[in-house]
Symmetry: C2
Subunit: 112 residues, 2 copies
DNA sequence: TAACTACATGCGTATATACTTATATACTTG
DNA sequence: CAAGTATATAAGTATATACGCATGTAGTTA
């Protein structure tokens, strides 16, 4: 059984969890993740898809890889990345739904 | 039906989602959230519980309130905060479980 | 081997933000 | 009203990090 965050956690574990949230807290990284939901892509494809510079995309991919959110697969000259952590889509959808609900509720405060 | 992050999202929505992750990406804020899982607490109690300064705790509580993760209830001289977004515990536990699994897998790479 | 392509990385700069100190505000009580 | 308490905020500093530019490295092809 997995240890639950809600029932007290060591400071060290808390820092790890915060680190993971922080990794997901950058728009460019989230953009990369979003594109990777469609399936495996190489760096050039991600550069085109996101409109970022090659250097910046590469760096963020490194960060995501270090966080074990995505994995690297080298094929000749290209490097393909894909999402390796199955909780990432759940996580994103959970947040997305929560945000939508918040905004809907706020919007309804201005009328029916 | 809530819009899913996994099926393409507007840039604006993506920024909002990133912002929420970023809010959860600070250790002190996560520490406050963790203590609030036990129930409603006022600022002084949170200062004691976390060991932070009053000013810093107050600022982070403001950030969490702005993100609609917690709500403020003023009672006389004290201000009580509590978690208002029900997805927060789910979110934290999801990440926590994922981290644990990662580390367990890594640990097992060093032998049985 | 030379030239080329895809990706990674070192370094500098700009910017965001966490934290501290000091002070302000809001409420209570004498 | 004065003094005290709980919380918020303003201003300054320190630090982290995202980004751009330049360059390095790995692999391919001529």
């Amino acid at each position: 059984m997995a240890k639950k965050f809600t029932s007290s956690l060591s400071e060290e574990a808390l820092l790890l969890v915060a680190g993971r949230f922080a990794v997901l807290g950058e728009p460019m990284r989230l953009r990369l993740i979003q594109h990777l939901f469609a399936g495996e892509m190489n760096v050039s494809q991600l550069v085109d898809a996101t409109g970022g510079t090659q250097a910046n995309v590469s760096r963020h991919l490194h960060t995501l890889t270090a966080a074990q959110i995505i994995t690297r697969r080298k094929e000749g000259l290209q490097v393909y990345y894909r999402i390796s952590d199955p909780t990432i889509p759940q996580l994103c959808n959970l947040v997305c739904g929560s945000m939508e609900q918040q905004l809907t509720r706020q919007a309804s405060a201005f009328g029916p």
